[in-house]
């Protein structure tokens, strides 16, 4: 026991820790940098890069670290690169960690909900912004535990540097054991030192996880609180800091009614002169123009020659059974999907190809989407999970339109007020009900001032009692904003209420179209009639 304590405090062993840490830090840091590059290569659009990254992973994940250490130390000098022992060991550790870290990064990037990526695209974000603002913040949060694991494993793997003569803890322990014959005391002491080091890594992991936890205050505030708690003036400071987040949480059951309807809406509810509105609309410019659109997934034809024109301010409802191509049509209009034949013009411009008809890069498409102004509301809401309701609306305005934080927040607050959610502005999506989430999503889409709003079954994922609050928001938008809308839905009463025109799709073709009242009450095509009677029966 005396010997054990003596070795535990022996400077020779303790300074061995410095080398152990040095190699671990250099190895992990290098591995992280290379891992990011490798993951980027694998996720890129270019097959050759992915293949290169794959090959690297196969080689460096498939060979023992001890061989890589010896290779870096003894074989590289043969081609003129003579690294010191510490450099060679750190390089080998970095080369070895890189493919593991790359896989952690890739898995967590892929793990971010694809719907959020679609939503970000629809908001006109470029691929870089999507990666930096939407995917990375969420992926980093979920990869902390795996990276903590990797750090512990790198720390232990650093002991293999002893084979290339780095004076780290393991090498020093074995040398000392050879000289003194005190085998067990020495190895117990160095074992305990490793345990302390890995313990510190675990502690760091816990702190990082706490700082990144979305349900806690922001990291800066948490650190401030921590230091305030330590400071002698704590009573005042803690009270001051504890105040700023009044959380009106757990009011999920409480009502959040919409503000009183504007006169326009009240008038509309009383009944509109449909014929007058139709003639007024027909004089408007074309908002969306679809010509001969064909799209197929392999042998499966999804859209089979769609021709469609939507006037500015017109509200069009797409009806049709599941699989009739409604969602695909909407996703084609804002170029979330490509197509084989035909053309789509929004506001007179064709999305996805330049004036010579050449396809554009994802970045150029994103910029075009933002400037043409096609908003989209998704069935699954697709709010950004790491942002509050206000941030979901405001932040895209800053990233895409370049608004200042102040202006973006002001606009977001105004829109949240309009959809009746001003009091939930600081709530994360996961603390909102489905109906509330969809209202935030609508506010987010409208915030960009689009000329056309596409709504893809906006109420299909909602519990029945939440459907009406969302439909009411859409109804008011239609009346108040004079925004062109294309809505795919199964809600016939809502369609009758809000639609200027109904288009019935089946099997990828337009079967019948006309004024809402005509299609719903006097369908001419048997497929439409059958669909309507089935829907009404439900």
């Amino acid at each position: 026991m005396d010997l054990f304590l003596q070795y535990l405090s022996q400077p020779y062993l303790v300074t061995g820790i410095v080398y152990t840490l040095l190699i671990t830090v250099l190895g992990l840091g290098g591995g992280l940098v290379m891992g990011v590059v490798l993951a980027g290569m694998q996720l890129s659009r270019f097959g050759a890069l992915a293949l290169l990254s794959r090959t690297y992973a196969i080689i460096f994940r498939g060979t023992p670290l001890i061989l890589q250490m010896i290779f870096c130390y003894n074989a590289l000098p043969l081609i003129g690169i003579k690294l010191s022992a510490i450099e060679a060991a750190s390089l080998a550790l970095a080369l070895n960690e890189a493919p593991f870290i790359a896989e952690i990064i890739r898995a967590n990037v892929i793990g971010v909900d694809r719907g959020q990526v679609s939503a970000a695209q629809a908001l006109g974000m470029t691929p870089n912004v999507i990666m930096g603002r939407v995917v990375a913040p969420q992926a980093i949060r979920s990869m902390v535990p795996a990276l903590g694991n990797e750090a512990v494993s790198a720390l232990k793997n650093s002991s293999l540097a002893s084979v290339v003569s780095v004076q780290e803890l393991t090498l020093r322990s074995t040398q000392l054991a050879s000289a003194t014959f005190d085998f067990f005391s020495i190895f117990f002491a160095s074992g305990l030192m490793y345990l302390l080091l890995t313990g510190v890594v675990a502690l760091i992991q816990i702190v990082v996880e706490m700082l990144l936890d979305l349900d806690r205050p922001k990291p800066a505030e948490q650190i401030a609180r921590f230091f305030c708690a330590l400071s002698p003036f704590r009573t005042r400071s803690v009270a001051a800091l504890a105040a700023p987040t009044p959380t009106p949480d757990d009011q999920a059951t409480a009502q959040d009614p919409l503000p009183p309807a504007s006169p326009k809406v009240t008038m509309a509810a009383a009944g509109v002169d449909r014929a007058a509105r139709a003639s007024r609309l027909s004089g408007n410019t074309d908002a969306v123009e679809v010509r001969g659109l064909h799209k197929a997934y392999g042998p499966n034809v999804v859209l089979n020659g769609i021709d469609l024109t939507i006037k500015a301010g017109e509200v069009v409802v797409l009806l049709g059974p599941s699989g009739s191509g409604k969602s695909t049509l909407l996703r084609c209009i804002n170029r979330l999907e490509g197509w084989e034949e035909g053309s789509i013009r929004v506001g007179g411009r064709s999305l996805g190809v330049n004036e010579e008809g050449k396809p554009l890069s994802p970045r150029a498409i994103a910029q075009m989407r933002a400037s043409v102004g096609v908003g989209m509301v998704f069935q699954q809401f697709n709010l950004f999970g790491h942002l509050t309701a206000r941030e979901n609306v405001a932040d895209p305005l800053r990233w895409v339109q370049g608004l200042s934080r102040f202006d973006a927040d002001r606009r977001a607050d105004a829109l949240l007020e309009r959809v009746g959610l001003a009091h939930r502005a600081n709530a994360l999506p996961r603390h909102l009900s489905g109906g509330q989430q969809q209202r935030v999503a609508i506010a987010r889409a409208v915030a960009q001032n689009p000329s056309v709003l596409l709504l893809d079954e906006p109420t299909s994922a909602l519990d029945p009692e939440l459907v009406n609050e969302v439909l009411e928001v859409i109804r008011r938008l239609a009346v108040e904003d004079g925004l062109a809308m294309i809505i795919s839905t199964h809600q016939l009463r809502f369609a009758a209420d809000v639609a200027d025109r109904i288009i019935f799709l089946s099997g990828g073709s337009i079967v019948e179209e006309g004024p809402a009242d005509e299609i719903l009450n006097r369908p001419r095509h048997p497929l439409t009639a059958r669909f309507l009677s089935k829907m009404e029966g439900e």
Binding site: P77, I81, I86, E87, S178
Partner: protein, 306 residues
């Protein structure tokens, strides 16, 4: 063109190396000493050394790297009283050669099997680490001999397996050895003899250093460890209740200093210095200091590949 490429890659590496050097500097300040230093040789350099320094001026003032496997107390191991130093006969001899030719030594600790590969890779300039100069090893390095080889047979106290040397008494026994030791092929060669006698072949467990081999006997995993007699004596001294030396055998080898192949001038210089050190009686003094028997001394000769 080729040279240019290498220069280019070196330039690329510079930033990385700079980072490492900074980090090493930090580590060094904490350690207190950048490299493990050794105690100076006990006696002053022989007078003839001055002549050698004029003859081989290129070595003067240099710092060379000596690769060692410091798990052999008596030859090379940490100083238990001050683990920042290496001590032992080989260390003193190396320092004496350095003093004679005017160069200093730093040490690089590697596994036994990596001694010669480290030299070949240019990560070390010389190996003085109780390594036997065999024809096979001479394919990797040139050797200058300085000691005869006597092996001791280390066994558990009482020699329960009645082992009498590298002979049929090893049949069916388990021998602990280090990877790359010359004893390994000698023990393996017993297989035919054992079979002829109707006995099982000896089994060999391979380890990385002396301490592990000794532990193998202490824990009952191995029956014997055959190695340099002084190492065996040291182990018996450390564990007098548990270990014993069954016998000593002479092997047809010599202990040698390994230098890179083809560096003839350096080899000649080391050999000349060693000759002077032996002539002046300094090697004898050092052997006495480390309890090596006098009859182990051997006049320097070269062991080269055929």
């Amino acid at each position: 063109m080729k040279k240019l490429n290498i220069e280019g890659s070196r330039a690329l590496l510079r930033s990385w190396m700079g980072l490492c050097m900074m980090a090493q500097a930090v580590a060094a300040t904490v350690t207190g000493a950048v490299l493990l230093s050794a105690e100076p040789a006990a006696a002053a350099a022989p007078a003839a050394c001055a002549g050698l320094q004029t003859k081989y001026p290129a070595l003067k003032g240099k710092t060379l790297v000596n690769a060692i496997n410091p798990h052999t107390p008596g030859y090379e191991a940490l100083d238990p009283k001050d683990p920042s130093k290496y001590i032992g006969f080989d260390i003193d001899l190396g320092e004496a050669i350095g003093d004679c030719l005017g160069f200093k030594l730093t040490y690089k600790s590697v596994t036994f099997a990596a001694l010669l590969t480290t030299l070949q890779a240019g990560q070390a300039d010389i190996v003085i680490s109780d390594i036997y100069a065999t024809k096979d090893r001479a394919k990797a390095a040139d050797f200058i001999t300085y000691l005869k080889v006597f092996d001791g047979v280390l066994v558990a106290k009482g020699n329960p397996k009645k082992i009498t040397g590298i002979d049929t008494s090893l049949c069916g026994a388990v021998a602990a050895e280090n990877t790359g030791y010359v004893e390994v092929p000698l023990i393996q060669a017993l297989e035919a003899e054992c079979k002829a006698a109707g006995k099982p072949a000896p089994e060999i467990q391979l380890y990385d250093n002396n301490a592990n081999c000794i532990q193998a006997i202490l824990s009952g995993r191995a029956d014997t460890y055959i190695n340099d007699v002084n190492t065996v004596d040291g182990a018996v001294k450390a564990y007098p209740d548990k270990l014993a030396k069954a016998t000593a055998v002479m092997l047809p080898y010599s202990v040698g200093i390994a230098v890179p192949r083809g560096k003839v001038e350096f080899r000649d210089a080391v050999m000349a210095a060693l000759t002077e050190i032996q002539k002046s009686g300094l090697q004898g003094e050092l052997m006495k200091k480390w309890n090596l028997p006098d009859n182990q001394i051997e006049a320097p000769s070269l062991v080269l590949a055929d």
